[in-house]
């Protein structure tokens, strides 16, 4: 009768991915936004290679952070509006695990495509190969942290009608360390130094968010669903 925890995680993850696959625009939005913002900078500023190279870590990371913020609003909203969250709340299953599964699905759909196209955009910014590797690694560790931190804000604001700006104001400051460490790691690699320090810190932030964000978001969802 009772569902195993891994099974529960998998069932929720699978369902969310299936819903996302039926709505392609939701998947495309953040990555299109990311590509647009990143490709506008050389047009507005200067196409000089050394200038772009210095700009690349910051621009790519800022765009990735904004793309993550943009997509967060929808994380729990549909589930609260259509009553799915009520069902989750009345089922005898740990809510934080449900939230973790939903956040992972959300990252796979909105964060992973951004990480995937980042190297291509980095090439247009004349970034050397080893710096691209560090950028990729920092995004791979950093964007799940953004999704996890964002899940707390999304859970708190899911019951509000217009939450976009409020959500950005709330979780934006929490995301700043990720932005600074991610951009810094890439920048250090660009300068030819060893970027492991900021990368380790990024990993530590991911571990922290992974363990603390789901229970916090679960508590917030109970308030939002009331």
């Amino acid at each position: 009768m009772n569902l195993g925890l891994g099974q529960l995680f998998w069932v929720v993850l699978q369902r969310d991915l299936m819903v996302a696959m039926r709505r392609w625009s939701d998947i495309c939005n953040p990555v299109v936004f990311f590509v647009l913002v990143v490709s506008l900078f050389p047009l507005a500023l200067s196409p000089r290679a050394e200038f772009l190279r210095a700009l690349a870590p910051g621009v790519l990371w800022i765009a990735a952070l904004l793309a993550a913020l943009l997509s967060l609003n929808q994380l729990f909203r549909a589930d609260i509006e259509d009553g799915t969250m009520e069902q989750m709340l009345t089922l005898p299953c740990p809510l934080s695990l449900v939230i973790l599964a939903k956040t992972l699905a959300h990252w796979l759909v909105t964060g992973l495509p951004v990480v995937a196209v980042a190297p291509m955009l980095a090439i247009t910014y004349h970034l050397p190969a080893d710096a691209i590797g560090v950028l990729l690694l920092s995004l791979l560790v950093g964007t799940p942290t953004l999704s996890l931190l964002g899940s707390i804000g999304a859970a708190l604001t899911a019951g509000l009608r217009q939450s976009g700006v409020l959500l950005a104001l709330m979780v934006g400051p929490l995301m700043l360390p990720v932005l600074m460490l991610g951009a810094r790691a890439t920048d250090i690699a660009l300068g030819g130094d060893d970027p492991t320090g900021p990368l380790y810190l990024l990993g530590a932030l991911l571990a922290l968010a992974l363990s603390l964000a789901p229970p916090a978001a679960a508590m917030a969802i109970r308030i939002s669903a009331d």
């Binding site: 569902l3 299936m18 549909a78 009553g83 799915t84 009520e86 069902q87 009345t90 089922l91 009331d226």
Partner: protein, 205 residues
């Protein structure tokens, strides 16, 4: 045995209920009646643990904090106004998700769809279902839960005559198997010979 004692809830300056108490034994039903806006849905949500009452408590077989039990089997099936169907998934996919969550054998879903009269729309996305069909899907989810306590919020809404009859039959069967049901209803439901308590909520503030 479901008991509520001394439940009090305020919404702003409105007192929805004050020192409200009720009980429903296994095999018995509790009907919540009252005019629109008198707090029937809110009371059901309090029983489900979705809303916190300011005072009082709801107990199920002596254990407090219903619905927050993270171990053991499903205690309750909550069927609110929202049908919890994802518009982009088919009826079958929607129900399969809840079947897997509540441990209902997915092989028996086809039979369940037939019982609830949803076979024809099993492969249709839930967004094209009529309101009555969505309600039937929500009732199918209640049937899958295997929970001893059913919390139904105006379950007859949008149902046709055959649907209401089916609802009455499934409730009678549930009560006959010593299940418990709390039902918010405006229209009378034929619950057969099951003992029924009626809880009359106050006038709308």
């Amino acid at each position: 045995m479901l008991t509520g004692t001394g439940l009090t809830l305020w919404r702003g300056a409105n007192c929805l209920f004050d020192q409200l108490s009720f009980a429903a034994a296994p095999g018995g039903a509790l009907l919540i009646r009252g005019p629109n806006g008198s707090g029937k849905t809110t009371l059901l949500r309090v029983i489900a643990g979705l809303t916190q009452a300011e005072e009082g408590e709801v107990r199920w077989n002596g254990a407090a904090v219903l619905g927050r039990d993270e171990s053991g089997r499903n205690i309750m099936a909550y069927c609110g106004h929202a049908t919890a169907l994802k518009p982009d998934l088919t009826t079958l996919e929607n129900l399969r998700f809840f079947a897997r969550l509540s441990g209902y054998p997915t092989g028996e879903l086809a039979g369940l769809l037939a019982t609830t009269g949803l076979t024809a729309c099993a492969g249709l996305p839930a967004r094209v279902l009529s309101a009555g069909q969505k309600r039937r899907a929500a009732l199918a989810r209640v049937l899958m839960s295997g929970a001893p306590l059913w919390l139904l919020d105006e379950p007859q809404t949008n149902l046709d005559a055959a649907g209401r009859e089916f609802l009455a039959r499934m409730l009678q069967e549930h009560l006959a198997n010593s299940g418990t049901a709390v039902i918010v209803a405006h229209q009378p439901i034929d619950l057969g010979s099951a003992p029924t308590n009626v809880l009359q909520m106050g006038e709308a503030a």
